[in-house]
């Protein structure tokens, strides 16, 4: 458990990742992160998971990482979504893909539904102390775990973090933005699925 902490804007956090990612990385984003990522400019190998089944982004990223062991896969997930699929943290470390980085953007709320607190956030808990995802990740078997609360340190260290042998877990404390809309689908999902598989199969970058 932990108390109040410093937070960065999610857009700053995502912009740093956008600048640091390599062209041949696969970046899987969901919910609010997908909306920001598409606004920043998704690359052809990226998977904005829209439409999604909430919570599944880490599992989908794991599958891509296992199928493409020579390629870095970066998943950006929200805290509400993470709570829906905490077991995926164990599944990831069981498979132990060295090419997978899971970034958790923690704003403490279900942002796109009106910023209701999650059961993991201080405001959603009887004891008023938020659940510590850093501790959870370590307990689930992640050996490379990072935690950033301001954009300057995240931007400074991001290339080193992404260069670590994975699986790597990164916790980013971000500010909630109530009233933010959910992501809009960039096009028919089935056609995008076919195209992504085709690009990955031929080593597109």
């Amino acid at each position: 458990m932990s108390g109040p902490r410093e937070r960065m804007s999610q857009r700053e956090a995502m912009a740093a990742l956008h600048a640091a990612r390599r062209a041949d990385d696969v970046v899987v984003t969901s919910m609010g992160a997908a909306r920001i990522w598409m606004a920043l400019g998704a690359r052809p190998l990226d998977l904005p998971l829209v439409p999604s089944s909430m919570g599944t982004a880490p599992s989908i990223g794991l599958g891509i990482a296992l199928a493409q062991p020579g390629r870095r896969v970066i998943v950006v997930n929200g805290d509400g979504a993470m709570l829906m699929n905490l077991g995926s943290l164990v599944t990831i470390t069981a498979a132990a893909p060295a090419n997978l980085t899971l970034i958790l953007v923690d704003n403490g709320v279900y942002e796109v539904t009106g910023a209701q607190p999650t059961p993991g956030a201080a405001a959603g808990r009887a004891d008023g102390a938020s659940v510590d995802f850093e501790v959870i990740a370590r307990a689930c078997g992640f050996r490379s775990v990072y935690h950033f609360s301001n954009a300057a340190s995240w931007t400074r260290d991001i290339e080193r973090v992404l260069g670590e042998p994975g699986p790597t877990f990164v916790l980013l404390d971000v500010i909630s933005m109530p009233g933010t809309p959910g992501p809009r689908s960039p096009g028919p999902a089935a056609a995008r699925a076919l195209e992504l598989r085709r690009r990955l199969a031929r080593g597109f970058s």
Binding site: S53, S59, G63, L66, A67, Q68, S88, A94
Partner: protein, 162 residues
């Protein structure tokens, strides 16, 4: 009904690269043989909803995954299955254990017998019911037909005691 070696040989023949699974007392006995098979990987997940999403990622990445779960896990899979098979329209094949179909000694009146087939129908998954070892060819043919059509499908394996 089937040995692990029979199933592993069948999956290998069909070109399956990854078997994503949560075990039960029947299909769980196949895991070791699948893990030993050349060119095939066993991916253990914590719950069945994860299995569909991991399989989706494997498919995106160019692999040919198969989901191996019990019918109770099918019930658990709901939204993930919907997203993978019907939003993204990925042709993920599954092999699903049908609890208590052959024997209700342990769980008389097991509700799995009430809901399994209607749930598969509701999710629009074409399945073949496998009740004897002689039907291994049915699994092979159904898998190949689904692969050729680019659509999901399932083999529903009748199980005995829970």
């Amino acid at each position: 009904m089937f040995s692990g070696e029979q199933i592993a040989a069948l999956f290998a023949e069909l070109g399956v690269t990854h078997v994503v699974t949560v075990p039960d007392s029947t299909i769980g006995k196949w895991g070791d043989a699948i893990a030993r098979a050349n060119g095939m990987h066993l991916v253990r997940v914590c719950r069945e909803g994860e299995a569909w999403s991991v399989a989706a990622g494997l498919h995106f990445g160019g692999a040919r995954p198969l989901v191996l779960i019990q019918c109770t896990g099918l019930f658990e899979s709901g939204d993930s299955l919907r997203n993978v098979l019907h939003d993204w329209k990925l042709p993920i094949f599954s092999v699903i254990g049908y609890r208590s179909f052959l024997n209700q000694e342990t769980l008389p009146g097991d509700s799995c017998l009430v809901f399994t087939e209607p749930v598969l129908d509701a999710w629009k998954i074409e399945y073949k019911l496998i009740t004897s070892e002689s039907q291994i060819g049915t699994i092979r043919e159904h898998y190949r037909a689904c692969l050729a059509a680019g659509k999901p499908g399932a083999a529903l394996i009748a199980e005995g005691k829970a």
